[in-house]
Symmetry: none
Subunit: 142 residues, 4 copies
């Protein structure tokens, strides 16, 4: 398996949103990117701010392009801020280096995409992303 099917993407989004409702989080937005960092599917809940697509995408995009999940990106940004700034330069400013950008791996460990969630705290966003990924029988790296 080297790709995320549309059906898997739907499951990941639905389950991530369901987890957000269970935890009574703010309205969430969830994107699924493929192994090349390209948008496969997206949904924005009613009440979420209009610009949330770009935030969700930015969290997931950096994860795929660097092969590094949001938590690791945030640590690097805190230790060596100019490096993550420079990374954003070469990626056209499309990277949001915080939790909520979660790598999706298949059972063999190969990165096949990423899920980006935004709307609540970064940590809660990441919990919902990981839940969606696991419900699709894939492996999450937060």
């Amino acid at each position: 398996m080297a790709d995320i099917s549309m059906n898997k993407a739907r499951v990941m989004i639905r389950k991530a949103l369901q987890k957000g409702r269970e935890l009574e989080l703010k309205p969430l937005s969830v994107v699924v990117l493929d192994a090349g960092g390209h948008v496969k599917a997206f949904e924005r809940e009613d009440g979420a701010a209009p610009g949330r697509f770009a935030i969700a995408q930015g969290k997931a995009y950096g994860a795929v392009m660097l092969g590094m999940a949001g938590t690791a990106q945030m640590q690097r940004a805190e230790q060596q801020g100019y490096f993550m700034n420079a990374v954003n330069g070469v990626y056209g400013g499309q990277v949001i280096p915080v939790p909520g950008g979660v790598l999706v791996r298949d059972k063999r460990g190969v990165v096949i995409g990423a899920v980006g969630v935004t709307g609540d705290t970064s940590d809660n966003d990441a919990i919902c992303a990981a839940f969606g990924i696991e419900q699709a029988n894939l492996v999450a790296e937060i």
Copy 2:
């Protein structure tokens, strides 16, 4: 009603894709933008090329921002190419002025967003978008 709910967006996407399968079209990608031109939901079928999100978005974005559906944009582009080029300048190059960008109006005629479809011929793309909109009890302007 001034907004497209997430449920309506899901219906529009599912029905547009269903129509594509009925007509045996190539794999489609479908985006729903809200009344501000911002992404509400998106799905890309398996087998569609990776860059199709940007094409779908570009069709729908011009429709919302100009209040002019894809067919009218194409006519303008053919008659007065420099005008649509200039429009693209002020909109950051994000407009694809061909059929498949379909305006969504509520029952009173107010524009509440747009659907963008890409993957087959522009005319077939528009048919699928309009079908999805109508199945959600909204009014399509192709």
Copy 3:
């Protein structure tokens, strides 16, 4: 197979360059992009102009992102120039819609990347790209 290995990429580049020498073409530059449009390998022959990387990449990038090889892109550009201009807008101006951007398919027909060649006439560029792809036991769509 959903990816181009580094070894396959090397074969494609070497064989494309070898074909160029056989045909006594001008110095060539050859890029291999993966299924997400990202650079896997590149070589520029001695004597080629310094800016040839971007031309090779632009030919291959549009092919992957649209799922449409250079010849088909050129036909579209000639019939509906404003459409290909608009496509370039949404892809950040990274598309060169002429022959020499050749799709790479695996034996089942799935697009797994593209080869971009530049340096001689567009038609000769495409011949070299296709030769390299075939020598790697993959299928070329010019």
Copy 4:
């Protein structure tokens, strides 16, 4: 000698990758830029994240354009962050100021290009780049 030949570029890349395998590093990506900062050759190992071309290029690009290797750039970034930010402004955001961007000098000391390596720690990246340069009978400045 004012230029890196394609054969020298191949040697530098092969040897840098060979060193990475010897040291059991993560999958590496290696770019060679010429004396004008333009891409001469590149390879990305299987398993490396898709966005690694831009990181490798950014490391090498700053080295050539400033005539300052990655280690010196990093020191400057840590001492005077606004300066390296401003440098990135004038170079279009294409500079990654960390080790792994290694200057290539000929025997007379003239800068004829740079090698950029990414994938493991910055220090390990630089070791591999320097090894490749030395194996091509050129002089590395880390």
